[in-house]
Amino acid sequence: MDERREEIKSNNKVVRKTMNERELRELFKEIYLKEGVKILPEKRLLELLVERGFPPRRARELYYRAYTLRIVDIGLDAELDEETGEVRSFTVVEYMTEEDWEALKALEEAAEEEEELKRALESE
């Protein structure tokens, strides 16, 4: 069981200690490093969290919280069946560093200028 999953008893009630942001980042970093990838299918990420001892519901909560805290980002991946030409899409989760957010910000800025022109072309 992951040592960060702490449950303490108070007045005979189970109270969950909330993991702080640094601990949460550590947890996700470890998972991704161990898997040797930067992007994991959502299903696999949840499985890995459960493997670390978190109940499925708690695993999902941690994943959602990591997304809110910008530790991970949710995306859509797609695979092509070259014979049929059909595409299968599925949700993936990427572990995000400051550098990754910077790169995305740079792309947003580049896109913004193009979109401004597109809007002008559509509206005028």
Binding site: V37, K38, I39, E42, Y64, Y67, T68, D73, I74, G75, L76, D77, A78, E79, L80, E82, G85, E86, V87, S89, T91, V92, E94, E99, E102, A103, L104, K105, A106, L107, E108, E109, A110, A111, E113, E114, E115, L117, A120, L121, E122, E124
Partner: protein, 475 residues
């Protein structure tokens, strides 16, 4: 009415509908066995019963709307009608009407056709009706190549159609008016080379295009009506793409060369390239973006909150729950972008035996003044393999677009500085050596004069061209 009787009547009506469908399918099968055109209405029935059909390869003249006018070689049509009437044992339209027991007005048009000496102008619906009465197979007109205004059938899987489809999917608009004959393609772009490429492809499928007098910050092109219907027949729906969510041309999904051509054009029309720094190291990022209207997918509470931000761009996580984002908004990513992601992954895998580490993200939501919410989705790539793939795709067969020039220069800078921490001076030099994303005014003017002068004489007038470039003067 008793409940039992009502149910019986409903059942009878349902049975009658199924019988009608079955008869339609039987007629379609018989027609297919004869190699004749499909009976009208059968397509929709098939799709309702068995789901969407495989995309068809040919677009025939009889698939044009009834009101579409065709020009036919008069010598062929006159002679063929006379022969057909003789085979039926009649000598004129009056006798034909009598023999077929139809009002003479239904075939009276034949007399008008005989009065047209060189080319007969006929509406598609009327031509189909007369050929049907005379038992002249529709395909014969295509086999004899008798149409003077357009060559039929049109191969919807041909390279020019696939290329045009991509252009329209990216920067075009497929318009249909109140009548099915009122169609055209609008294509607007600021780069004269892309305008020229687009018009060349319209001409290659026998169509016409004209550039309107300048009013916008871009060149505004309109095509003829048939070209628009061809692109529609190839699978692109009419109307706003954020609402119709169009897919890529089906051939692009199976043919690697056409897939690369699609990505080339898409990079020039919907793509971006930019530099970023990761721990002081230069990164080249390539992005593709598309949008989709998600208004109807949003719960009323979230929509209400979003509508308080009309005219603004907002982050989805501010207004929507994580659950809603991952289960509803993300899977609603534009089909074309999802397919493009799949194609890029497949190309990278086969070329470098390495998976593409990138995914489609929701970039932002835009709330329009009309109260529609559009989600913008983006695919950002910065792996070495993705950069090499796009270098190959974009620069191996350039069309001369500004974005190609910019990308080439950016690759040079990237090659020189990649893999090490850059000093502030080097960063500044990299910035200065990167061509601007806005196309320079002089470049637009010189390219327009060089490439568009023969299509639109006004493009030789620098004053008029400055109407397009005046957009740069905005604050």
């Amino acid at each position: 009415m008793g409940q039992y009787k009502k149910r019986q009547l409903t059942l009878n009506r349902w049975l009658r509908e199924r019988e009608r469908e079955a008869s339609l399918v039987r007629r379609a099968e018989q027609a297919a066995a004869r190699g004749a055109p499909e009976p009208p209405g059968v397509g929709k029935t098939f799709e309702r019963v068995a789901g969407p059909r495989a995309p068809r390869r040919l677009y025939h003249w009889w698939e044009e709307p009834d009101g579409a006018v065709r020009k036919i070689r008069a010598d062929y049509l006159h002679e063929r009608i006379r022969r057909a009437m003789a085979e039926l044992g009649v000598r004129n339209p009056y006798q034909l009407a009598k023999k077929l027991r139809i009002p003479e007005t239904r075939v009276h048009i034949i007399r008008d056709w005989f009065r047209q000496p060189h080319a007969v102008s006929a509406k598609t619906g009327v031509l189909k009706r007369i050929l049907g009465y005379l038992r002249i197979p529709f395909e014969e007109l295509e086999e004899r190549n008798v149409f003077l205004d357009r060559k039929f059938p049109i191969d919807l899987f041909s390279k020019p159609v696939v290329r045009l489809y991509t252009h329209v999917l990216n920067e075009g608009y497929l318009y249909v008016g109140k009548r099915p004959t009122e169609t055209n393609i609008r294509y607007v772009n600021q780069d004269p080379t892309l305008i020229r490429t687009f018009i060349d492809y319209v001409r290659r499928i026998g169509g016409e295009a004209r550039i309107l007098e300048p009013k916008k910050p871009g060149f505004d092109v309109r095509t003829d009506t048939v070209t628009a219907r061809i692109i529609h027949a190839a699978g692109l729906p009419y109307g706003r793409k954020t609402l119709t969510n169009p897919p890529l041309h089906p051939v692009v999904m199976k043919d690697k060369e056409l897939a690369k051509e699609h990505l080339h054009i898409t990079f020039l029309e919907e793509g971006y390239a930019t530099f970023s720094y990761g721990r002081g190291r230069l990164q080249l990022i390539i992005g593709l973006g598309r949008s989709r209207d998600i208004t109807d997918l949003l719960p009323s509470r979230s929509l209400k909150q979003l509508l308080q931000h009309k005219g603004e761009k907002v982050q989805p996580s501010q207004f929507l729950s994580t659950d809603l984002i991952r289960t509803i908004i993300l899977p609603a990513a534009p089909t074309a972008l999802v397919q493009e992601k799949a194609i890029i992954s497949s190309l990278i895998k086969s070329r470098f035996s390495y998976p593409l580490q990138a995914e489609i993200r929701i970039s932002y939501l835009h709330v329009s003044q009309e109260g529609r919410v559009t989600a913008n989705y983006r695919l950002a790539m910065r792996s070495e393999e993705a950069i090499r793939l796009f270098e190959e795709i974009v620069l191996s067969r350039p069309v001369g677009a500004w974005k190609e020039h910019r990308f080439r220069e950016m690759l040079r800078v990237y090659e020189e500085y990649k893999g090490r921490v850059l000093s502030p001076e080097e960063k500044e030099e990299a910035r200065l050596r990167t061509p601007p994303s806005r196309i320079p005014e002089d470049w637009i003017i010189s390219k327009a004069k060089q490439l568009l002068g023969d299509i639109a004489p006004w493009t030789r007038d620098e004053k008029k061209l400055r109407v397009i470039t005046r957009w740069y003067e905005r604050p």
